[in-house]
Amino acid sequence: MHFTPITPYHYLLLSAALFSVGVIGVMVRRNIIILFMSIELMFNAVNINLVAFAALYRHEVGQAFAVFVIAVAAAEAAVGLGIILAFYRNKETLNIDEMNLMKG
C-alpha cells in the first residue's frame, strides 16, 4: 500500500477541519459549557497549526507560541467558568440565549 508522504499541509488541513468542528459547536450548541469546550477545540486547532509550522521551519518559535496559547486558554477557562457559575447561580440555566441581561 502506498501513501503520499505526510507533509505539514496534512496537519494544516487537520487543523482546519478541527477548527471547523469547533465553529459548528459554537454556532449550534446552546449549552454554554459546550460552547467553551468548542472554543477549546479551536484553540487546539490553532496549536496543531503552530506546531506543524514549527516542524516545517525546524524552529521552536511555533511551539513557544503554542505555550502562550495554552496559557491564554487556561486563563480563559478560569474566568469563563467563573462567569458560568455566577450566571448559573443567578438564572439557574446554562442556555446562552438567556444570557441577555445587558440587552438594551
Binding site: M1, F3, P5, I6, T7, H10, Y11, L12, L14, A16, A17, L18, F19, S20, V21, G22, V23, I24, G25, M27, V28, R29, R30, N31, I33, I34, F36, M37, S38, E40, L41, N47, I48, V51, A52, A54, A55, L56, R58, E60, V61, Q63, A64, V67, F68, I70, V72, A73, A74, A75, E76, A77, A78, L81, G82, I83, I84, L85, E92, N95
Partner: protein, 171 residues
C-alpha cells in the same frame, strides 16, 4: 509509511472525538470526549517533534483545565438533567454553513500556497538529536519572548483573581 498510518489514525481520532464533543447530549460525556481528543492532539505533537509541548498539553489541558470543566459541569448538573437538545433557536444550518465556509476558505488558502510541494515532516526523534527541543524552547521563552512570557504570567494572575471574584458567593 509509519508516519502516514500514525497521521491518519490520529486525524480520524481527533475529528471523531471533536464531533463527539459537540454532539454529546450529556456535558459530562462531552468533557470525557474532550479529554480523549486532547490526548490524541498530544500524540500529534509528539509526532511533530514537540515532546515538551505534548506533556504540557496533557498536564495543563487534560489534567488541569478539563478537570475544571468537569468540576463545573458536575456542580451545575446536580439538580437539573442534561441540557435539552431540541432547542428551537439552534442555528444548525447557519453553523454548518459557516463552518463549511471556514473550512473552504482555509483549504483554499492551503491549496493556493501549497502548489509548491513541501518536504515531508521529519520524524520526532531525528528532529533535534536525542536531547529533544525542550532546552531550545526554554531559551526561546526566556530570551526572545521574555516580555510576552511575563505578560502571560500576569494574565494568568489576573485571571485567577478574576475567577475568584466571580465565583465567590455574593452575600
Amino acid at each position: 509509511m509509519l508516519d502516514a498510518i500514525a497521521f491518519y489514525t490520529l486525524a480520524a481520532l481527533i475529528l471523531a472525538f471533536a464531533i463527539a464533543v459537540i454532539t454529546a447530549r450529556n456535558p459530562v460525556h462531552s468533557v470525557v470526549f474532550l479529554v480523549i481528543n486532547f490526548l490524541a492532539v498530544a500524540i500529534v505533537y509528539i509526532v511533530l517533534g514537540a515532546e515538551f509541548l505534548a506533556m504540557i498539553q496533557v498536564l495543563v489541558y487534560a489534567g488541569g483545565i478539563v478537570v475544571l470543566y468537569l468540576f463545573v459541569v458536575m456542580l451545575v448538573n446536580l439538580k437539573r438533567g442534561p441540557e435539552a437538545h431540541q432547542d428551537p433557536r439552534r442555528q444548525t444550518g447557519a453553523g454548518v454553513g459557516l463552518a463549511v465556509a471556514v473550512l473552504a476558505e482555509l483549504t483554499a488558502i492551503l491549496a493556493y500556497t501549497g502548489r509548491n510541494p513541501l518536504p515531508a515532516v521529519v520524524p520526532a526523534a531525528s528532529a533535534r538529536g536525542p536531547g529533544g527541543n525542550t532546552e531550545q524552547l526554554g531559551w526561546l521563552l526566556y530570551t526572545t519572548y521574555l516580555i510576552p512570557f511575563e505578560v502571560a504570567s500576569m494574565l494568568l494572575l489576573v485571571a485567577m483573581i478574576g475567577a475568584i471574584v466571580l465565583a465567590r458567593k455574593v452575600d
